[in-house]
């Protein structure tokens, strides 16, 4: 029997599953669906081509084989789809694959009672960062001199972004070099420190698979009792086979993680420094956010935004007729979200006005963490704003005519 903290090499025993490295992730999901541990699997599948990963909602275990393999252009966030379209997993059991930002988003949504974690099985995927599909295609055409349509596979390995063409050509360029030119991974990925998502029930990846199993097995770390039960179940049911990891592999995995976390911290330092400090930083934020068209894509895609009545829509706070909107629009978002920002990057990547929203929010989050000690996305501990049930709170304010928000939260 496995328990939290145990680590394994695991690989598929299904003939039809051709995974990136052993196929354990897809096999675990298939087992969970077949054994009716979950009703639906929310994961990612190749769409039109390798640059087009699409979220899929799978209820038929036979369909899972088509989801095997990793896609580094998958820049979207899955957990909010559980809230939006699966009723927050309130009455449906969901298995979901999560990279670091997904795992953190899942926790923040759960804290706000938008997702029922009792019904969620999360399979973590190691993630060194993702690349926007349009950036990837332009980069491959211009920096690699390769027709992006000829690329059949891409991977990030040993600090390089490597592409493979249909006629077997391999070409890698150092990520550092790409990122200095504004290419490569998204800016928020560059700042990320969550490379192995241990918040998930199981954390999987190819880092640390060493020796004869290299390329043939998935490294699995058991991260919760729920993860242990599903992992053991998959072994007993014959979905996967396992062995102990090579000690040298453990060391390698630790090294990769620590190097990447250091890179993340370094990127934070330089990106935050570029914003300036104090008044200068405020001026930068005000200047860039004056491009806002109030489309609300940041709100729509933010894993922290969940309010039924959004304050940015209140005419007494934000004049609804002005474009760009008053700076209050952004102040409301900072006040409501910054303490819990998980740096998923959606608000920036999907901003039609190219406002570096995620950079602004993340820069504030690290400062607030120093002040209030709340680290978003690592466990279920609550930030102040998540204490209240929005509907109850609004009802109370209505019923009593009080304007004392959060009175019930702060009362002894």
């Amino acid at each position: 029997m496995s328990e939290k903290g145990d680590m394994f090499y695991a690989w598929t025993k299904f003939d039809d599953i051709k995974g990136e490295c052993g196929g354990a992730v897809i096999s675990l999901l298939k087992y969970a669906l077949e054994a009716k541990i979950v009703d639906v699997v929310l994961t990612v599948r190749k769409g039109y081509d390798v640059y087009d990963p699409l979220p899929v909602f799978i209820t038929d275990p036979a369909e899972l084989a088509s989801c095997a393999g990793s896609l580094h252009c998958g820049t979207f966030l899955l957990p909010k789809l559980i809230k939006k379209y699966l009723n927050g997993a309130k009455d449906l059991k969901v298995a979901i694959t999560v990279k670091g930002c997904d795992a953190k988003a899942l926790y923040e949504l759960a804290k706000r009672q938008q997702i029922n974690m009792d019904n969620v099985l999360s399979i973590g995927l190691n993630c060194g960062g993702s690349v926007s599909p349009t950036v990837a295609r332009e980069m491959i055409a211009e920096k690699y001199g390769i027709d992006p349509d000829d690329v059949v596979k891409e991977e990030i390995d040993k600090g390089q972004f490597i592409v493979m063409t249909k006629d077997g050509q391999h070409k890698g360029i150092k990520i550092d070099e790409l990122e200095e030119e504004g290419l490569g991974r998204r800016a928020n990925c560059q700042r990320c420190e969550t490379k192995i998502p241990r918040q998930a029930d199981l954390a999987c990846g190819n880092w640390g698979v060493f020796g004869e199993k290299a390329g043939k097995a998935t490294f699995v770390e058991v991260c919760s009792p729920k993860g242990a039960a599903v992992f053991d179940g998959a072994v007993s049911a014959g979905a996967i086979d396992v062995c102990s990891p090579d000690p040298k592999g453990l060391e390698i995995r630790g090294k990769i993680e620590s190097v990447m976390v250091k890179m993340g911290k370094k990127a934070q330092k330089s990106q935050f420094a570029a914003l300036g400090e104090g008044t200068e930083r405020l001026a930068t934020i005000m200047r860039d956010s004056s491009r806002c068209i109030a489309c609300r894509a940041c709100i729509e895609n933010c894993p922290i935004c969940y309010c039924v009545e959004c304050s940015t829509l209140k005419p007494h706070l934000v004049d609804q007729t002005k474009t760009p909107p008053d700076f209050m629009f952004h102040l409301i978002r900072f006040a409501h979200i910054a303490d819990s920002c998980v740096n998923c990057g959606q608000c920036q990547e999907l901003c039609p006005a190219e406002i570096p929203n995620a950079l602004f929010m993340h820069a504030q989050q690290v400062e607030l963490e120093k002040m209030f000690g709340h680290t978003p996305g690592i466990d279920m501990s609550l930030p102040v704003l998540a204490f209240a049930e929005e509907r109850d709170e609004r009802q109370r304010l209505n019923d009593t005519g009080s304007d004392m928000i959060f009175e019930n939260v702060f009362k002894e």
């Binding site: 769409g47 899929v56 909602f57 820049t75 979207f76 379209y85 349009t134 894509a297 039609p352």
Partner: protein
């Protein structure tokens, strides 16, 4: 539970952003980004984000004759009274939001009937530049509030600005004026302010940007002799113009009108002008997927499929032809526009092409030179395919 994403094109402006419609158990329940889109990289404006709701809102689900519910046979039978009018007395008023295939059929219908044809909310002119060329421009002259009308085209202007391009603006106070670095607030385009001329003359990659329905801006831009982005603010205004369908001008002789009023909700007022004339007509027929001011007072109302209920192609302002995919089935009682046109054609004694969207497209490509050499199959790729002249 069945749930999937269907990648299609936004039904609103002429930028042609791709988006994913989220479909659950046969119904559209939301919009998700299509990060793969070379046009928008997944970014959408407020309208695109709302597309799933807009396409399903205020739907007309059965035919009406004189305000009363009617069955299809009765409504088409009544609409066939179009044949009583002489050539020149009938106007076919189309929408700049139809697919290329449906637009081709509407045009055929009008031609066979001898009717005049015009488009509401369309435009004229073709661009000599592309979205990526706007992004890479070094001086951009915007005439009017182009960034508000086409927000994701505006995105390329912002990207150019980030890379150091100069953004010049002539027009009324507006969002675009706020984003430009050099601004001339004016209601007309009289002459180029002196500073502007020098910048444009010395630019390596200058672009002028204006709306396809702004004749004054078009005339002014023509004098500049630089690459122009002619922005259509409808999803297929460019395709409609490419077929030679020009903005509506209703002759005095018109006594009957067949109006295809395809417009997602939030934009009802585009028919305000037409509304006044409707009363003076002897027969008015509206085919539409959702309610507009026109459907309330037309003699006959025919409910047709919305843009996410059948497949086809649309052409963005660049001249990029992209695929629209069917996400869901039409509600009961609603027919595809192509079927309605064929039925009505039969009743009035004319003949128009029939077939699958691919067959109609192929017929279109054989007849309209700018579409020639682009096959329906090629259009499937996320990049789409440019019209030949673009």
């Amino acid at each position: 539970m069945q749930m999937n994403y269907v990648t299609t094109i936004c039904p609103y402006c002429g930028t042609g952003c791709a988006l994913n419609l989220v479909v659950r158990d046969g119904k559209t329940v939301g919009v998700a980004p299509s990060n793969r889109s070379p046009v928008c990289s997944g970014k959408l404006c407020s309208r695109g984000l709302r597309a799933a709701q807009a396409l399903d809102e205020a739907r007309i689900k059965q035919p009406f004759v004189k305000g009363e519910p009617a069955d299809w046979d009765a409504a088409i039978g009544k609409a066939a009274e179009l044949k009583k009018f002489a050539a020149g007395e009938v106007a076919v008023i189309t929408s700049a939001r139809l697919t290329n295939e449906n637009q081709f059929l509407v045009q055929k219908f009008a031609k066979e009937l001898g009717a005049v044809i015009g488009v509401v909310n369309g435009g004229t002119g073709s661009s000599t530049t592309t979205l990526n060329e706007i992004r890479d421009a070094d001086v951009i002259l915007a005439l009017g509030d182009v960034m508000k009308a086409l927000p994701l085209t505006g995105n390329k202007i912002l990207l150019a600005k980030e890379k150091g391009a100069r953004i010049l603006y002539i027009g009324p106070q507006s969002y675009t004026a706020v984003q430009a670095d050099t601004v001339e607030i004016s209601d007309e385009f009289a002459e180029l302010p002196p500073g502007f001329s020098t910048l444009l003359k010395n630019a390596a990659r200058p672009v002028v940007v204006y709306l396809a329905n702004d004749a004054a801006a078009a005339a002014f831009a023509a004098g500049l002799k630089i690459n122009a982005a002619v922005l259509y603010d409808t999803n297929n205004g460019r395709g409609t113009a490419a077929m030679g369908i020009t903005p509506l001008s209703l002759p005095e002789t018109v006594k009957a009108a067949f109006i295809i009023a395809e417009t997602p909700e939030m934009e009802k007022d585009i028919y305000a002008d037409l509304l006044e004339k409707l009363d003076s007509l002897e027969l008015s027929i509206v085919a539409a997927s959702s309610e507009t001011s026109l459907s309330g007072i037309a003699d006959i109302v025919l409910p047709v499929s919305a843009l996410h209920e059948s497949e086809g192609t649309v052409t963005n302002w660049e001249g990029r032809i992209q695929k629209i995919k069917q996400a869901v089935a039409s509600p009961d009682g609603v027919k595809p526009l192509a079927d309605v046109l064929v039925d009505l054609a039969g009743k009035v004694g004319i003949s128009i092409p029939t077939g699958t969207p691919e067959e109609i497209y192929t017929a279109l490509a054989a007849e309209v030179p700018v579409f020639a050499e682009v096959s329906y199959e090629q259009i499937t790729k996320p990049e789409g395919v440019y019209l030949r002249e673009a």
